[in-house]
Amino acid sequence: MEAPGKFILIPVCAISLTSCFVYRCAMFLAIRELPDVAVQLGAPAYLRAVPVWMTFGCGLGLAAGGTGALAALGAGAGDDGVDDGTRRLVMAAGCFHGLGVGMVKVAVLPAMSQLVEDRHGSMFGVGLGVQGFATKLAGGAVGMVGLSFLIESVGFTRALSFFAAALAVAAVAAGWFARGIKLRVEASRDDAP
């Protein structure tokens, strides 16, 4: 191939491959976020029906299940990359994972604000600050840096298996320790007599 043809073909191929990867990543993020958003949109009805301990336990349990499913997919697949069928299963695992995270996320804020108001005199800023700091610190230090070190040392499948086991333990502990937390769901103005 002549040199001018290479100059055209190589960037076109690179852009096509990159857009394909970007499409896959965007698709995964969208599928993972949709259940999260759906739970948050139905938060008032959901929080009336489901107690906090069950939300925490089931939410973290679903996240553990999604992580474990990814680890199992890794155990079944080889080093040859991700084929179409496996990619669909990865998306499905991400969907369950997003549902679990959404269940926890939707209950954490009202639980924290009501606990802080009842026990610490309405210092919401402290409660939300501590909670946000814990989320970001754990997500960055353990979730991203820790998992990357773990993947580098023991591989993707084992690292995710370890994370799934840790999340399952956290789900049981959260369900146990949160059994005394009860949300006050007040009637809205429209529902008031």
């Binding site: 997919l73 080093d79 924290m112 802080v116 800023g125 814990a134 754990a138 979730g143």
Partner: protein, 122 residues
């Protein structure tokens, strides 16, 4: 004529006073609607400090806004919050949720983009 002028002045003053009173009532109503603490200062100076709850009646629905307890600071509240098992549980659940969210998002995106394979390190 002078007496009549005086009467007019007095009448105008009385009308001005009525307008001022109406404005004050409107201001008070707006403050109550906005939940301002100034509106309840006349009723109870203690409530203005935010030590106790301020009930605000509005169309039969009662709202309560409680302020910080006396003598509390950011650090002391933070420590007492982490000593409380249930508040600590919520903070720990938030941390677990953050870990799950960030770890899987990053790892799966690396996997799908082909940077990393299932079997081992990238």
């Amino acid at each position: 004529m002078d007496n009549a002028d005086d009467d007019d002045d007095e009448g105008g003053g009385a009308l001005g006073g009525a307008d001022d009173a109406k404005d004050a009532v409107d201001l008070r109503a707006r403050l109550i609607e906005a939940g301002g603490a100034s509106s309840s200062a006349e009723a109870s100076p203690e409530k203005d400090r935010g030590i106790s709850g301020i009930p605000i009646e509005d169309n039969g629905v009662t709202y309560s806004m409680s302020g910080p307890k006396p003598g509390t600071s950011w650090a002391s509240t933070c420590v007492s919050m982490l000593r409380d098992p249930e508040t600590f549980c919520v903070v720990a659940v938030s941390a677990a949720m953050g870990t799950a969210e960030y770890s899987i998002a990053g790892a799966v995106m690396m996997l799908l983009s082909g940077v990393m394979s299932f079997g081992g390190a990238g």
